[in-house]
């Protein structure tokens, strides 16, 4: 490769490769940085009254309005160069196709620089193959046919190793992603807000249990012996059957007492741990049905028990 040097920079820096139309094929799998000659881009330098790069990027397509082929799709790159803004328009597909043809796979390309940054180093032309040279004219890297230079022109050798380039672009940023940046930002913000709301709700839900925990802790502080669920269950097992049985005994007795009147008096009542039995004497047979129906309403088992007598029997 005449006039081109591929050099390793110190440390982890990638090799730099100056790319021009007459370059030889590249035979390596290494990751490299590409320096494009003006054969691959259109350059404009403008003095504009804008402050920020994003503003410059916004107006880039209009700056190139009369300079580019309409049928091609261009990508744009802008950076501030002293008092000017340096605008670049390039067709990434064309560049990548060319590089692939020269044996450079897309994944090998780390960054793409523009030869414009070499301008301070190429006041004397450097050779790009048999027919062209690269030289800075009015601080703009320009491709010149060699025939315009003297026959015995002393072409400069440029050592890319010692040149630091600042304005590189990642190849990925030249390709438009499936999702545009603006939408990415909107979707990410929305999802983050949604996630934030979920976390907030989760925390609120978790905190909602605090009053109950405090109540339980207070109860346990007052009743430390009841802190174990096994102890509580064992006490409940002991007292619950007593409570149920004793309440039932009292309910039955109370219901039996409601069947008593001047015409229906208690003959006997027996309460033990298995059953409650009562015998009621009635003054005449006319009120027997009345008492039976009253007892049924109170869900008591009642039956006739001999002449003018009724027996209520409830098991516990």
């Amino acid at each position: 490769m005449k006039g081109i040097k591929i050099l390793n920079l110190m440390g982890n820096a990638n090799k730099k490769l100056l790319v021009h139309k007459n370059m030889s094929s590249f035979d390596s799998n290494e990751t490299i940085d590409i320096i494009l000659t003006p054969q691959f881009y259109t350059f404009l330098r403008e003095e504009l009254g804008i402050k920020f790069t994003y503003q410059a990027k916004q107006i880039a397509p209009s700056i190139f309005d009369d300079y580019l082929e309409e049928e091609k799709e261009y990508q744009y790159y802008v950076y501030k160069c002293n008092k000017y803004w340096c605008f670049f328009a390039y067709n990434i597909k064309e560049i990548v196709d060319f590089l692939e043809a020269k044996g450079i796979k897309q994944h090998q390309i780390s960054k793409i620089f523009f030869a414009q940054e070499l301008a301070p180093y190429i006041e004397n032309a450097i050779s790009l193959g048999d027919n062209f040279a690269l030289q800075a004219i009015d601080d703009i890297s320009t491709i010149l046919p060699k025939r315009l230079l003297e026959n015995n022109y002393n072409y400069k050798e440029i050592d890319l190793k010692n040149i630091t380039l600042k304005n590189g672009i990642a190849i990925s940023s030249s390709y438009s992603s499936l999702v545009p940046l603006k939408q990415t930002i909107s979707i990410t913000i929305l999802l983050s807000i949604l996630g934030g709301i979920f976390i907030f709700e989760g925390n609120t839900i978790k905190n909602s249990i605090k009053p109950d925990i405090d109540k339980l802790e207070l109860l346990l502080d007052k009743n430390p012996k009841l802190s174990s669920s096994r102890i509580r269950k064992s006490i409940l097992q002991q007292y619950k059957p007593i409570d149920t049985k004793e309440r039932k005994k009292r309910d039955i007795i109370e219901n039996i007492s409601k069947l008593l009147s001047a015409n229906s008096q208690l003959k006997s009542l027996i309460v033990d741990n298995k059953k409650v039995t009562a015998i009621i004497e009635v003054s005449n047979n006319n009120i027997v049905h009345q008492i039976i129906s009253k007892a049924h309403n109170k869900k008591l088992n009642i039956k006739k028990y001999g002449e003018k007598q009724l027996k209520v029997e409830e098991t516990l």
Partner: protein, 138 residues
């Protein structure tokens, strides 16, 4: 190559991370909800249990019941008390010749106090005349 792919799909990757964050946050919320539901039912059941134990113990293991048992000695005149025995949490009392008013008075006291009735036997011995035998404990 992988770094290139990451750079190429940077926007998609950012969205993917945001989606993972949102899903994780949602799962956190769901797990918080499940955790609270489980904890809450456990806490409420513990609180209910403790309150039940307290109530039951207060009712059926109260120290004052023993004193209350003495009332069965004073509800009717002494001649109507056939037998009165109270020892180690147990009361045995027998009455005779009780009129309806006295019978009701004694029954009311049995019903309204937390005695565990082991045996209660009321018999009509004559017109408006009753005998009663009560064995209860606490």
């Amino acid at each position: 190559m992988s770094l290139m792919v990451l750079k190429r799909f940077k926007n998609e990757l950012i969205i993917l991370i945001a989606i993972i964050f949102t899903i994780s946050a949602f799962l956190y919320k769901i797990s918080a909800k499940n955790f609270v539901n489980n904890q809450k039912s456990e806490i409420i059941s513990s609180i209910t249990e403790i309150n039940q134990v307290k109530e039951l113990k207060k009712l059926w293991k109260s120290k004052s019941i023993s004193k209350k048992a003495n009332i069965f000695k004073t509800l009717v005149s002494k001649d109507k008390i056939k037998n009165f025995k109270k020892k180690s949490g147990k009361l045995i009392v027998s009455y005779q010749n009780l009129n309806i008013k006295e019978l009701n008075k004694i029954t009311k006291n049995i019903m309204n106090n937390p005695f565990q009735i082991e045996k209660l036997e009321i018999d009509k011995t004559a017109k408006e005349n009753y005998s009663m035998e009560l064995i209860c404990k606490w």
